[in-house]
């Protein structure tokens, strides 16, 4: 496979991407266009290939799984946020050191500059009392705080594109709402491009303006959230929409 720049005006361009393991083909020649500055969702159930597609963009496919066809074009620096913040962080290293490490080795900062930057990043992702929190270990933080740290680590590399793999699935619902609002704020403030993978169409609709629906390794439908939610074309999209259990706004009739 060839890794190239994305199409003009785009952060990520995927063409005819095929991913396979010894067991067979997992992703069947999909296309994906992510315009620079946009928030694009990939939604599907387990085994749909949504996470593999995302991981192929950053080159983090699991062992034994590889790209066997097509191309992935990327323009800009990538950062990634994973589902489980506790496994994304080193349990034996303070969260401050984990952010500073990226500042020093990716951005080439001095130790003192990296420390100042880490405080700024913690402030940016809404971690209270950042000076003190730099010295905390991951287990001393709540799940939501840990995911904020993971975002700070990703932002320390000053990415242009943020790849999010179910970043709120492991979080409580009130915390999920806060992290979604944070990702939205970072996207606007930093002009980030966001690719957001989730099994939850409702969550994707909160963050993204366009969405591709994946089923069994294929994109079965893509369009704006309005089109896909308002007038789904593919039967599988309708199944997913029917399965969303809606609760009315409190106080609504």
């Amino acid at each position: 496979m060839t890794r190239t720049a994305a199409a003009p005006g785009h952060a990520v361009t995927v063409r005819g991407l095929t991913i396979a393991s010894r067991a067979g083909t997992l992703v069947h020649g999909i296309d994906l266009d992510v315009p620079a500055g946009a928030a694009v969702g990939l939604v599907g159930e387990s085994g749909s290939g949504k996470s593999l597609t995302l991981r192929s963009v950053i080159g983090l496919l699991p062992r034994g799984v590889e790209i066997t066809g097509g191309s992935v074009g990327v323009t800009g620096r990538l950062g990634m946020v994973f589902q489980d913040p506790s496994s994304a962080l080193d349990p034996l290293v303070t969260v401050g050191s984990q952010v500073m490490e990226v500042c020093r080795h990716v951005r080439g900062m001095t130790k003192a500059a990296a420390r100042r930057r880490a405080v700024e990043l913690f402030e940016e992702v809404g971690i209270p009392d950042p000076e003190r929190r730099l010295r905390s270990y991951p287990h001393e933080l709540s799940g939501g705080q840990r995911q904020r740290v993971v975002l700070a680590v990703a932002l320390a590399a000053e990415p242009d594109v943020l790849l999010c793999d179910e970043p709120t699935t492991a979080l409580d619902v009130t915390v999920q709402a806060q992290v979604l609002a944070l990702i939205e704020r970072l996207r606007v403030d930093r002009g980030l491009t966001v690719v957001f993978v989730s099994h939850d169409l409702a969550v994707v609709s909160q963050v993204c303006s366009t969405v591709s629906v994946m089923q069994a390794g294929r994109v079965v439908e893509s369009g704006t959230i309005d089109q896909v939610v308002g007038a789904p074309q593919h039967p599988y999209t309708r199944t997913l929409l029917d399965a969303v259990l809606e609760i009315p706004e409190a106080g609504a009739p």
């Binding site: 159930e45 387990s46 809404g126 799940g143 409580d172 619902v173 009130t174 915390v175 999920q176 709402a177 806060q178 979604l180 609002a181 944070l182 939205e184 099994h199 939850d200 169409l201 409702a202 969550v203 609709s205 909160q206 963050v207 303006s209 704006t224 959230i225 309005d226 939610v229 308002g230 199944t239 997913l240 929409l241 029917d242 399965a243 969303v244 259990l245 809606e246 609760i247 009315p248 706004e249 409190a250 106080g251």
Partner: protein, 294 residues
């Protein structure tokens, strides 16, 4: 199905059943029938850390109670105390008015409360076929005469809408949704009065989630089963429950009929939970800022 009707009778004659399971010399409380399940001032502690503080609630026979809350709310600890998996530090769990011991329950009491967990894979023996699991349970507890064990296993998998071929399969050969159905069938094999379902659909894909919820609703209808559903997901609770209890930091902050709860939640935390639930959003509506919750 001959067995499930047995439950329906229990659902309408709970008092008679209470006498049966408590033994002939158990005192009968006069007056109205006690709730199927009742918690009185339940206290739960892990070591010196108290995680549940004076929780009281009751569940009528044949109804579904949803206990919602976030991590650390104590909802799963309550479920474990109801199931007899941990001994409360204080207070009581009552089934049909009869106090259940913390963990040293009689076999009949243990059978009466069954649990279905979030991850059916972890709760099924990987080396045994579904048929072996069910046959063993039915035989050990002498639930049906020896000659009827095989036909009863077929009834059980049909009850959870699985084909009889599943009996020859091992857990890893089944999908997540099928495994959860098997876990439900296994719980029902013991003909419980109360089914505790701890996040039964949280590990499942959304489309499968719905079919398992429909199954639970159907079983409640057909068997008159009393269900305690533990969930972080208000949409799941709304679909299944008659009453809702909201827990936070080990206490109940709201206990209301489901209709009233979803129409006008009273406690600020309940309102925050409802506001935070992700909803399908058309692109023309901007997300509300939810950074500052109470």
């Amino acid at each position: 199905m001959s067995r499930p009707e047995h439950h329906e009778q229990q659902g309408t004659t709970g008092a008679r059943h209470a006498q049966a399971s408590a033994g002939p010399e158990a005192p009968r409380s006069p007056g109205p029938r006690p709730p199927r399940l009742e918690l009185r001032d339940l206290e739960i502690a892990y070591g010196s850390t108290r995680v549940v503080h004076g929780v009281s609630l009751s569940v009528e026979a044949g109804s579904v109670l949803g206990i919602v809350g976030e991590s650390g709310s104590g909802k799963t600890s309550v479920a474990r105390a109801v199931a007899g998996e941990l001994a409360p530090a204080g207070g009581q769990v009552l089934l049909d008015g009869e106090v259940l011991a913390g963990t040293s329950r009689t076999i009949a009491q243990r059978r009466a409360v069954q649990v279905v967990y979030q991850d059916p894979y972890a709760s099924l023996n990987p080396r045994m076929t579904v048929g072996q699991v069910l046959r063993e349970l039915l035989s050990v507890h002498s639930i049906v005469p020896r000659g009827q064990v095989r036909s009863r296993t077929i009834e059980l998998v049909e009850l959870v809408r699985l084909p009889p071929e599943v009996l020859d399969a091992r857990p890893r050969q089944l999908s997540g949704g099928q495994r959860q159905r098997v876990a439900i069938a296994r719980a029902l094999a013991l003909e419980p009065q109360v089914l505790v379902a701890d996040e039964p659909t949280s590990a499942l894909d959304v489309s499968v989630q719905r079919t398992v919820l429909d199954l639970l609703a159907d079983l409640r209808e057909r068997l008159g089963l009393t269900v305690v559903l533990i969930s972080h997901d208000l949409a799941v609770v709304r679909r299944l429950c008659d009453a809702v209890v909201v827990m936070r930091d080990g206490v109940i902050v709201e206990d209301a009929p489901a209709d009233a709860f979803f129409r006008s939640p009273q406690h600020p935390y309940s309102r925050a939970l409802l506001a935070a639930a992700p909803r399908l959003r058309q692109a023309d509506r901007l997300p509300e800022t939810t950074e500052d919750l109470p």
